[in-house]
């Protein structure tokens, strides 16, 4: 390695390309939050920035944790979080009509941690499963149970967005593990039959309302459809180059609700236009592609499934959030990772990145040895 002479080896071995991408996304997020606060570091940009770099440091630290630790702690972590979810159900704090938080000194949202942990748990399950069993029934029901229990608990809070993401993460791992394709095709068919039934009998009124308004936002421009309408106005009025930094009217005059959290992309698009939006989407895609590639290069089955699954978790965040702000999906409370103000998603995504970097480190060691 020729680079070792210029910089110390441990630093040179960091995955610089992805770190720079992540820092670029995070920094851009802080610029947007600065504008969302009307050109001020307070109350969002500064605290978000500090937290971002602290958590990024933590992610880098995590990257030194060897794969076997993740492997051995996957199922215990899963059990702990399921217990926490049950506790939330029993004694959790209610905020905004749903019961998602656990007060233990700091306010914890266990469902948030379930997003990466479900990937780890499923990966661990298929890792333990002998290869010959993969196409049998025994390869399916335990995984379905692993996914179903937390998903049901989270859906009951109610937090449909997170429940769907937990399901999505788990199912992707099943898919990658080689569960027969016809199951997924059949599942998709079953879903399309079950969806209308669920819509009518399972969803809460506010959730049903959100779906209805998603289908026709103009039907209620001042009620629940207001979010989608205003978000589309912000994005649409931005045009190709945007209105310019600090010049957004939708966000600065408070027409765009949640302009610093779930709808931060609209705030950004109004000022930076299509160009800013495409660059941000591209950056996210590159990070996700790196994650999937880490999986492709991984040497163990657990590492492969975990890496591709965590990359897909990040993808779910981005895709669901962007679909929502552009009016392609109903409003479900999924923030845009690294950009939206708030600690939970930021923490989850950087944890995912930390694990991915840890696997990446393992891969390269494997190559070298």
């Amino acid at each position: 390695m020729s680079r070792t002479r210029l910089v110390p080896d441990p630093i040179a071995r960091l995955p610089w390309r992805v770190i720079l991408l992540v820092v670029a996304i995070g920094a851009f997020g802080q610029v947007v939050l600065y504008s969302a606060a009307g050109g001020s570091l307070q109350p969002w940009a500064l605290s978000q920035g500090i937290r971002f770099f602290v958590l990024l440091g933590a992610a880098l630290a995590i990257s030194y944790v060897p794969e076997r630790v993740w492997k051995s702690s996957a199922l215990p972590a899963y059990v702990v979080i399921v217990i926490a979810l049950v506790l939330v159900e029993l004694v959790g704090a209610v905020r905004g009509g749903s019961q998602r938080w656990l007060d233990v000194g700091i306010r914890l949202q266990p469902s948030e941690f379930m997003k990466p942990v479900i990937v780890l748990a499923c990966a661990r399950f298929y890792d333990m499963l002998p290869p010959g069993e993969t196409r049998r029934f025994g390869a399916i029901w335990p995984a379905a149970l692993l996914i179903g229990i937390p998903a049901a608990l989270i859906a009951k809070q109610p937090d449909l967005g997170t429940a769907l993401m937990v399901c999505g993460g788990g199912i992707i791992v099943m898919f990658l593990a080689g569960v027969p394709m016809r199951l997924f095709i059949g599942g998709a068919l079953a879903l399309s039959i079950a969806a209308p039934i669920a819509f009518n009998y399972v969803l809460h009124d506010y959730q049903r309302n959100r779906v209805l308004i998603f289908l026709d936002p103009e039907s209620d421009p001042l009620g629940t459809g207001y979010h989608i309408s205003q978000s589309k106005i912000a994005i649409g009025s931005g045009g190709l180059w945007g209105k310019g930094f600090l010049n957004g009217t939708q966000s600065h005059l408070d027409y765009l609700p949640e302009g610093h959290t779930d709808f931060v992309f609209a705030t950004m698009a109004e000022e930076w236009g299509l160009v800013g939006g495409c660059l941000l989407i591209l950056a996210f895609l590159l990070v996700i592609r790196w994650g999937v590639n880490v999986g492709q290069q991984a040497t163990t089955r657990f590492a492969r499934l975990t890496a591709a699954g965590l990359a897909t978790t990040i993808f779910f965040y981005v895709a669901i959030n962007l679909s929502m702000v552009m009016g392609l999906a109903p409003v479900v409370g999924i923030p845009l990772p690294l950009v939206s103000f708030g600690s939970s998603a930021q923490m989850t995504v950087l944890l995912c990145l930390g694990i991915l970097m840890s696997i990446d480190r393992q891969n390269r060691r494997a190559v070298r040895w």
Binding site: P131, G132, T134, R135, R136, I172, F175, L176, A177, G178, Q230, K232, I233, A234, I235, G236, S237, G238, G239, L240, T249, Q250, L253, D254, Y255, A269, G273, L274, G277, C278, I281, L282, F284, L285, I288, R289, V292, G295, Q296, R301, R304, L305, A308, T312, F315, A319, L322, S323, M326, L328
Partner: protein, 700 residues
């Protein structure tokens, strides 16, 4: 299933399957990324214009500035209707906050700031309950600057309250021009639904509701301005943007002389009547006063139920424009016209009829107004003395069908092109008309009644003025009201000019040579007036009444039973310049100063010697309780006092729904006019003996 050999999955196969599926996953993720970018492109590029517009309409709050209404000016440019600065406060119900409690808080604070009396607060409360959310409810208008400033300062604590500085319509001449201009008012819900024009619900905007204000609405309205401000989603104003000024409506010039109009209205005094003055050279209408009237200034603010009730209860029908809507039997004022018809039919002016005071036609006896008879009368004397027997005898000879065409030539029964929504143009009967309308043959009695302007003959005061102007000028003048719509090229009348001269001479005699209209003689040196008086009976005089008590005097009769008094004339008699018609409902010739000849004389005097006319009015006006405003105030006070118990505070201000073509006014007009129609058949039986002439005679 179990029979089929299960595929043996090895670790190598698993790895291969993983990399294939991971590649599929990556591709799908990339595809979703492209889809999202495409969606964003669609919003930001393809639909950019639409969303830009929406963002702009979010950001910019437009407040319409009602346009200043065009002035209405008289022939000399003096304002008939103009605009005064007005500070007003409205509540927009939609923007009130905090439910009933919030509303009460706002009302309490407003009541304190504006010193509103409790009944006003109650009125606002009731109006708010009934208002459509978008429609502003008036709190107060025409308030002082201090109070306006007090409300403006505290606007942040008064959500939904809109203090505005605008313009309000003003009519300097008040009630004197009410029936001419009409009035303005806020648009009603139907009008807004029809056009959806946001201007209609802008606080302070008024549109024409009646009269010229309504007819000329398009020209008078103008284009609204707009105040633009940048606002946040919560409605907080962030910045003021450039304001677009309003474009005032166009000034409309009338042929009216507002000085004359006001004088005529005042001179009518306590009468229920009207006066019309027409320029004999152009047909321009110089004055058309109908009294009593409402005050258009207070009408434009919205009137109370009490005020409205007072106006509708009044037997002098202040809501009716008598000039174009009142129909009256013209009585003896048609005698010059009948004389002209006789001359045109070949009856020599010198032919005599011996008037013994009564004439027997068939089985009926017809009494001349002078019981002792006029003795031998020729045409000139018959017009001067208004001898009924002469016209009965002569018209019996030629038949009324020879008179009716001349009546039409003179403008009776004709509708004129004037900016009024309704005109009633009466009847000139003839045999064909009667057959059509009543399926009955024309009788001699019909001819006799029509000959002296009774029976089926009905005309409005404007037509009588046109008749006078046409006799005076010999031309088929058309009346006009708008300065840009004067009809100058009118043909000569299709009658011999020497016949017209004979009739004019007789009308000169009526006033100046011992005729019935001596009281109308002008006191202006060198100017003589020619005219004709008339009386129209509105009740039957039965043979029983004649035998037992004698014909009752008008002063003994209730108001509605008294005779109408009429006068038509022109001056100067030798070179006619102005023509006039005065019609007083149920005047009965009871008070000399308030009778037609002297009113006609004074209005004419104003045109030749203004100071003399004003002096003359100043002498007599106190005898009937002062000028229009004073009398109206006194009447309103008396009416209010008579209402016991006083009506509850819920006397809400309403938009007076009384344009002259409304049902209520139509009904009142019908009621006033139906007496005539009811009498017409009775006359045919000879029960009705028309009376004529003013009882007061001046020495020749």
């Amino acid at each position: 299933m179990m029979r089929r050999a299960p595929r043996i999955v090895t670790e190598a196969m698993q790895t291969y399957s993983f990399s294939r599926r991971a590649w599929l996953l990556g591709t799908a993720q990339g595809a979703v990324g492209v889809l999202l970018a495409a969606r964003m492109g669609w919003l930001a590029i393809a639909q950019n214009e639409k969303y830009n517009l929406l963002a702009e309409s979010n950001r910019v709050n437009l407040t319409m500035i009602p346009p200043r209404r065009g002035w209405i000016v008289d022939r000399h440019g003096a304002p008939v209707a103009n605009n005064r600065t007005d500070f007003r406060v409205d509540i927009i119900p939609d923007r009130l906050e905090g439910g009933d409690a919030g509303r009460d808080r706002v009302l309490t604070l407003l009541a304190r700031l504006l010193a509103l009396p409790p009944e006003e607060v109650e009125r606002i409360r009731i109006d708010l309950d009934h208002a459509a959310g978008f429609q502003p409810v008036q709190v107060a208008e025409n308030i002082s600057w201090d109070r306006f400033a007090a409300v403006s300062l505290r606007q942040p604590e008064l959500p939904g309250v809109a203090p505005t500085r605008g313009f309000a319509r003003a009519y300097p001449a008040g009630a004197a021009v009410a029936h001419l201009t009409g009035y303005v008012g806020a648009a009603n819900a139907e009008q807004f639904k029809q056009t959806r024009d946001p201007l209609l619900v802008t606080p302070g905007f008024k549109l024409g509701k009646d009269g010229l204000e309504k007819q000329l609405e398009t020209q008078l309205r103008g284009t609204p301005g707009a105040k633009r401000v940048e606002v946040t989603a919560r409605g907080k104003v962030v910045a003021e943007l450039p304001t677009r000024a309003d474009v005032p409506g166009k000034t409309q010039r009338l042929t009216i002389d507002v000085g004359l109009q006001e004088y005529a209205a005042r001179r009518l005094g306590t009468n229920s009547g009207s006066a019309v003055v027409i320029d004999c050279r152009t047909g321009e209408t110089l004055a058309m006063a109908s009294m009593p009237a409402y005050d258009p200034n207070s009408f434009s603010d919205g009137i109370s139920h009490l005020e409205w009730k007072m106006l509708s209860d009044d037997d002098h029908v202040p809501l009716m424009n008598k000039v174009t809507q009142g129909l009256y039997p013209p009585g003896s004022t048609v005698k010059p016209l009948a004389g002209l018809a006789l001359l045109e039919a070949g009856v020599p002016a010198s032919d005599h009829v011996n008037c013994s005071g009564v004439i027997r036609i068939g089985s009926g006896l017809f009494h001349c107004h002078k019981r002792s008879g006029h003795g031998p009368v020729d045409l000139k004397r018959a017009i001067e003395q208004s001898c009924d027997v002469y016209f009965w005898e002569m018209v019996r000879r030629i038949g009324y069908d020879k008179v009716a065409p001349i009546a039409h030539v003179m403008g009776l029964g004709e509708k004129f092109d004037l900016p009024f929504s309704t005109q009633r143009y009466g009847t000139v009967p003839d045999s064909a008309w009667k057959l059509r309308k009543y399926k009955a043959r024309w009788t001699v009695a019909d001819s006799l009644n029509a000959a002296i302007g009774q029976g089926y003959v009905l005309a409005n005061p404007l037509q009588l003025a046109v008749m006078a102007a046409r006799i005076a000028s010999g031309r088929a003048l058309l009346p006009s009201l708008l300065a840009n719509r004067v009809h100058l090229d009118v043909p000569a009348l299709p009658v011999a000019s020497e016949h017209l001269a004979t009739v004019r001479d007789a009308m000169y005699g009526v006033v100046n040579q011992g005729g019935t209209g001596g009281a109308a003689r002008l006191l202006v040196p060198g100017v003589a007036i020619a005219g004709k008086t008339g009386t129209a009976q509105v009740r039957r005089i039965t043979m029983a009444e004649r035998r037992s008590t004698g014909v009752l005097k008008n002063g003994q009769l209730p108001f509605k039973m008294r005779d109408h008094a009429l006068f038509v004339g022109f001056a100067p008699a030798d070179n006619p310049r102005y023509a006039i018609a005065v019609v007083l409902e149920h005047n009965g010739h009871t008070v000399r100063n308030l009778d037609t000849p002297m009113i006609g004389r004074d209005i004419m005097t104003w045109l030749f010697d203004r100071d003399r006319a004003i002096r003359s009015l100043a002498e007599v006006e106190p005898t009937w309780g002062g000028d229009i405003q004073t009398r109206m105030t006194a009447q309103a006070d008396a009416y209010r006092a008579a209402q016991s118990p006083p009506p509850a505070a819920n006397a809400t201000k309403t938009d007076p729904s009384v344009p002259s073509d409304s049902d209520a006014v139509e009904a009142a007009t019908d009621l006033a006019n139906q007496t005539q129609a009811a009498l017409a058949p009775a006359v045919a039986n000879g029960d009705l003996a028309p009376d004529d002439g003013a009882p007061e005679r001046t020495a020749p």
